[in-house]
């Protein structure tokens, strides 16, 4: 029983981690608390829904939805934040702009599509499940785990194994100096937005698959969890977000299983506050540049 709960928690945590990775990347490199981030999650889920309804197989719908979410993220970042970045505005201003934008985006989506919960077409993934050692894992869950592992691996390779990643880390450390060293910071900012948005979109598709419930405001409840994960992991810290995401999933599932499902969020947030009180920079409190 406990092993099964841990497995379910790990799965949930993997999607949290995936979502939070993009968020922490955006925060660490662009230094913006971008509240529109949750919208890319919703956008990814809806795009995958429409693509699969149109008959596209999942292995095409997932990357297509992720790429499209990334493009939306790049466009919104350019529309909303270019002006503020040029003026050197403080983080409050960017917080506020993205807050207004995300209110408009969710409301627009609800006005257009209605607040109903939609479901992915049946039979998208074979309904089978593997059973071994008394544990049960569905094919959908295996797919989620594999996709998360693949995307996290890709991100780590991009950040640590390529010159592009080096440039991104340089920009995270000191944007001015990076620009003087010949790094095209504006273009790089667009790229980081794209990667973050794509991660959020992929997270949306996978969570949509896991719970099979897609609605315009699904990104909003995810944003709160995203905050918990990136703060506990240390803002901008990719490794920290990964560990914290997995931890959060396991804690939520264990609380729901052994205490009360109504308390799972309260417990998660109580832990967040305790971490902040005792380790104000997060459990793995260093910056993206030094750690990623």
């Amino acid at each position: 029983m406990l092993a099964q709960q841990l497995l379910n928690g790990l799965l949930l945590g993997a999607t949290y981690a995936l979502f939070a990775l993009g968020f922490t990347l955006m925060f660490g490199v662009l230094r913006v608390v971008n509240l529109t981030y949750g919208f890319y999650f919703t956008a990814g889920a809806f795009l995958a829904l429409w693509l699969t309804q149109a008959g596209a197989p999942l292995f095409l719908a997932l990357p297509a939805a992720a790429i499209a979410s990334g493009l939306i993220a790049t466009l919104l970042d350019w529309l909303l934040l270019t002006r503020l970045r040029r003026a050197g505005a403080d983080e409050l201003a960017s917080l506020m702009v993205t807050l207004g934008a995300v209110l408009a985006l969710y409301a627009g989506m609800t006005a257009w599509l209605g607040p109903d919960i939609r479901r992915l077409p049946p039979g998208l993934i074979a309904a089978g499940a593997l059973e071994a050692f008394g544990l049960r894992i569905t094919l959908a869950q295996i797919l989620i785990l594999a996709a998360c592992a693949l995307l996290v691996g890709l991100l780590l390779w991009l950040m640590r194994g390529t010159r592009l990643g080096l440039a991104i880390r340089a920009m995270a450390e000191r944007p001015d100096t990076a620009a003087l060293m010949g790094i095209a910071t504006a273009r790089l900012a667009a790229l980081v937005s794209f990667v973050s948005g794509a991660l959020a979109g992929a997270g949306g598709v996978l969570i949509g698959l896991n719970f099979n419930a897609i609605h315009p405001y699904m990104g909003e409840s995810m944003m709160l969890r995203g905050f918990v994960v990136i703060v506990v992991g240390g803002l901008g810290n990719i490794f920290g977000a990964l560990v914290a995401g997995l931890l959060l999933g396991i804690i939520e599932v264990l609380t729901a299983g052994y205490i009360s499902s109504g308390l799972k969020e309260a417990v998660a947030f109580a832990l967040l506050v305790l971490v902040l009180w005792t380790r104000p920079a997060g459990l793995f409190g260093t910056t993206l540049a030094r750690k990623a």
Binding site: A93, E220, A266, L272, V273, W277, P280, A281
Partner: protein, 284 residues
């Protein structure tokens, strides 16, 4: 004056919301004025609302006794969590305070006497409209007087440059805790007044979304004087009403207005900064 009574009757809820949101905007203003991005206002409001509702419903206390006590509860909470929380800065502080709010929301949802997800209803509608506006006027007046004094100067110094303020002898820790308590009083007051004029409160009235809405009041208005956040709150409360003919699209417009306002008026709608006297005998 029959037409005035009609008007009040039609727009009773709106009139209450304008007054209460004005108080909440001031509660946000107090912490922003010392440069603290503390987002606990919705949580303080919830504590005020829930404690006042319990005192009215369970203990049957009269409203004049309930109202001041409902400000004490959020202050006690602020004092309890303030020590470790106020060591945090910027986004960390914002997220910690949102986290505390979510913990409280979890408590409201899971404790039976607090009504769970159904919330509390049947709260006596004991708060007269004039009292809400009297409180708002009093709060603006007090904040104006404090802002003009040496305390206001110290607060502005803290916001602009903490290190410089510290070296000039401003007790930063004490100011932070004091402003957090003042913020708790204003939000608790708003919560109790709102609970006693709408008869119902629920856990989701005090979650993440209200917290950022309250922040948007103060940011849209500006923090140059106590009038600015109230103006912001009134505009953002009136806007959905004015846009009502647009039906579904009005929330979209609401968000778009915030975006445009911040992009083009980064210091808020009312950027005017309140005058502060220079102490006699010193150069300006």
């Amino acid at each position: 004056m029959a037409w005035f009574d009609d008007l009040l009757f039609t727009y009773q809820n709106l009139a209450v919301a304008l007054g209460v949101n004005g108080l909440l905007a001031l509660s946000m203003y107090v912490v922003l004025a010392v440069g603290q991005l503390s987002l606990g206002q919705a949580a303080f409001m919830g504590l005020g609302a829930y404690s006042s509702a319990l005192m009215s419903l369970q203990l049957g206390w009269p409203f004049w006794a309930v109202l001041p006590l409902s400000c004490v509860v959020p202050v006690l909470f602020a004092l309890a969590v303030g020590g470790p929380t106020l060591r945090l800065n910027g986004v960390y502080l914002a997220i910690a305070t949102i986290g505390l709010g979510e913990v409280l929301r979890g408590v409201y949802l899971n404790v039976d006497v607090l009504g769970g997800a159904m919330g509390l209803s049947g709260i006596p509608e004991a708060a007269p409209l004039w009292l809400i506006y009297a409180m708002l006027a009093l709060a603006v007046l007090v904040l104006w007087q404090v802002g003009k004094s040496g305390i206001g100067r110290a607060m502005e110094a803290m916001r602009l440059d903490e290190t410089a303020a510290l070296s000039m002898g401003v007790n930063i820790r004490r100011y932070r805790l004091a402003t957090l308590c003042a913020s708790a009083v204003l939000a608790g007051l708003a919560g109790a007044l709102s609970a006693h004029s709408t008869d119902f409160i629920g856990p989701n009235d005090f979650g993440f979304e209200p917290a950022v809405t309250i922040l948007s009041f103060a940011l849209l208005g500006g923090i140059g004087s106590p009038f600015a956040p109230v103006l912001g709150a009134w505009l953002l409360t009136l806007l959905p009403e004015v846009l009502r003919p647009l039906a579904d699209v009005r929330l979209v417009m609401n968000g778009a207005v915030i975006v445009v306002a911040v992009l083009f008026l980064p210091r808020g709608l009312l950027a005017w900064r309140m005058p502060r006297h220079v102490r006699p005998g010193r150069a300006a």
